[in-house]
């Protein structure tokens, strides 16, 4: 088992690419299992940011001087890398944002001009707060009604109720591709198809899917898709909003400022075309360029290999975890989710487990994972979430499991 998993990827070599994986925490080698919160950054991406400030730094899209052109080319090349990765038809459909939350708010703000009382929007019960709150705000503003696609005990969405909720009143549907708290991979193809049949638009939050699988926005026929670079080996503060060109053209701009205009006078301003209409102000230039570098890095390893390898980690960890008495794992079976284990040990608070694991060098997330409705569903205060990445190893899982047993014995 250990041998086969190591063979899919040369993990030891990959680990050399990540400077932070060499450090210690509380005197122990770092075991980083909080990848669903943010991924670590390979040297290639760090170097790209340094190179930008050492060699390319200039404001983009506005200078006639050479340096500005170099920076602009690098930024637009990154946009093209992102377009290619998600297979969008045109670079006009790739808005570089500050991340998923920003992307969702951009769309929610745009639709506040179109929705009215009597309209309905559907949101799944397993969303991150950032894919709930903007829509609640949108409903408050427009009088539209928010309805919830419930979840089942097995951590999957109740698609029968979804069918019943869909009607010609449904204008928009919001669902994550992968749940951040549980790792469930949602059947977004089916959700998109059915939603389109009633004329509803679909926004898929791809923040948790992007590190593990490559979404093809054309094949999915999704209307909007959002991603944060920092979950896929890129820097924080940058991300993507994909939107179908005709839909983005209809949406009014989100923020006013420089970059997003064609002509300005005090009587009337005309807006720039896509994608710049939604990119007011000087963007996170180095971040955008590094976002491209991060995708290049992950594609060089290969998403198929990453998925296969992470599945082996997940299966191994699930089996080891299930052998500990009192463990309850929340969510779907390994084959229906990404490399996330959300669990509790009977009678022990997740905060206590997380605190003791940290003392032993193991970083996990504890709490409600910004998905309180899921915790309410299971009637728990939170869970311990261990989330794996392609640079994690079987031996790190062994360290985690033995640390967990130690924590359990201290707390029981």
């Amino acid at each position: 088992m250990i041998n086969t998993s190591e063979q899919i990827l040369d993990v030891e070599k990959i680990r050399q690419d990540f400077p932070i994986l060499q450090r210690e925490i509380n005197g122990k080698p770092l075991v980083y299992f909080d990848n669903a919160a943010t991924s670590q950054t390979p040297k290639a991406v760090i170097d790209c940011i340094v190179d930008y400030y050492e060699n390319k730094n200039a404001n983009i899209h506005r200078g006639v001087h050479s340096l500005s052109q170099i920076a602009t080319d690098a930024y637009e090349n990154a946009r093209e890398t992102v377009r290619k990765h998600f297979n969008a038809k045109s670079a006009n459909e790739i808005i570089l944002t500050a991340g998923t939350t920003h992307s969702i708010n951009l769309v929610a703000n745009g639709y506040s001009h179109f929705l009215k009382s009597g309209d309905e929007i559907l949101v799944s019960a397993m969303e991150h707060h950032s894919n709930i709150v903007p829509w609640q705000m949108l409903c408050n503003k427009t009088g539209a009604t928010l309805k919830v696609i419930p979840m089942l005990n097995n951590g999957e969405l109740d698609l029968q109720v979804f069918d019943d909720l869909l009607s010609e009143r449904t204008k928009m549907v919001f669902v994550n591709h992968v749940s951040n708290a549980l790792g469930t991979i949602n059947p977004i193809e089916e959700i998109i198809n059915k939603s389109h049949k009633v004329g509803a638009k679909v926004l898929v939050d791809g923040a948790q899917a992007a590190p593990h699988l490559k979404a093809d926005v054309q094949a999915l026929d999704v209307d909007f898709y959002t991603v944060s670079a920092h979950k896929i080996c890129g820097p924080t503060g940058v991300g993507m909003l994909y939107g179908k060109e005709e839909l983005l053209n209809e949406l009014p701009p989100y923020q006013g400022g420089g970059e997003m205009i064609a002509e300005v006078s005090f009587e009337k301003t005309t807006y720039a075309g896509l994608p710049h209409k939604f990119e007011a102000g000087t963007p996170n230039i180095s971040g955008g360029i590094a976002f491209g570098a991060a995708l290049d890095y992950m594609n060089a390893i290969g998403f198929d290999k990453i998925a296969d390898y992470e599945m082996q980690l997940l299966v191994y960890a699930t089996k080891a975890l299930e052998e500990i008495e009192g463990v309850r794992i929340y969510g779907a079976k390994p084959e229906k989710k990404t490399a996330v284990l959300s669990f509790n040990i009977e009678g022990i608070h997740p905060y206590d487990i997380g605190t003791l694991l940290d003392k032993m060098g193991v970083a996990v997330r504890t709490g409600h994972h910004c998905a309180q409705p899921i915790m309410s569903f299971y009637k728990i205060p939170g869970t311990v979430r261990a989330s794996f990445s392609f640079y994690n190893t079987i031996s790190e899982i062994d360290v985690f499991i033995s640390a967990l047993k130690k924590a359990k014995s201290m707390l029981s």
Binding site: N26, Y351, D352, T355, G367, G382, L411
Partner: protein, 144 residues
Amino acid sequence: MSSIKTKQEDIIEEFSMFDDWMQRYEYMIELGKSLPIIDEKYKTEDNIIKGCQSRVWLYAEMDENQKIEYTADSDAIITKGIIAILIRVFSDEKPEHILEADTDFIDEIGLKEHLSPTRANGLVSMIKQMKMYAIAYNSQQNQA
């Protein structure tokens, strides 16, 4: 030395006997288990301090000697252990002494991280709430 300061010094001395983090935490877990639990009737929404990670309930009463008695609880045992330490220090003290005291001793016993606001375990707000009770009882006394 004030009674609060003496209690803090005692705690620092107790913790200095531990060789490593594990003994420290085992002791805290023990303290957490032995914490006199808050009377169920005070475990109300009014008395809850919501942290993102763990929840804390706190209640305070003034006894006949004009000293404040705190009782508290938490759903996480390590949080409870720290509550037990804080209650030992601040309970059975006069409001004015509670208001003068600080919590620097927590750093000295190696538990500083638990009082970080980013930890979101409710303890920072709990200390604030303990002081609020002291302010309230203090002004009550001054009015009387």
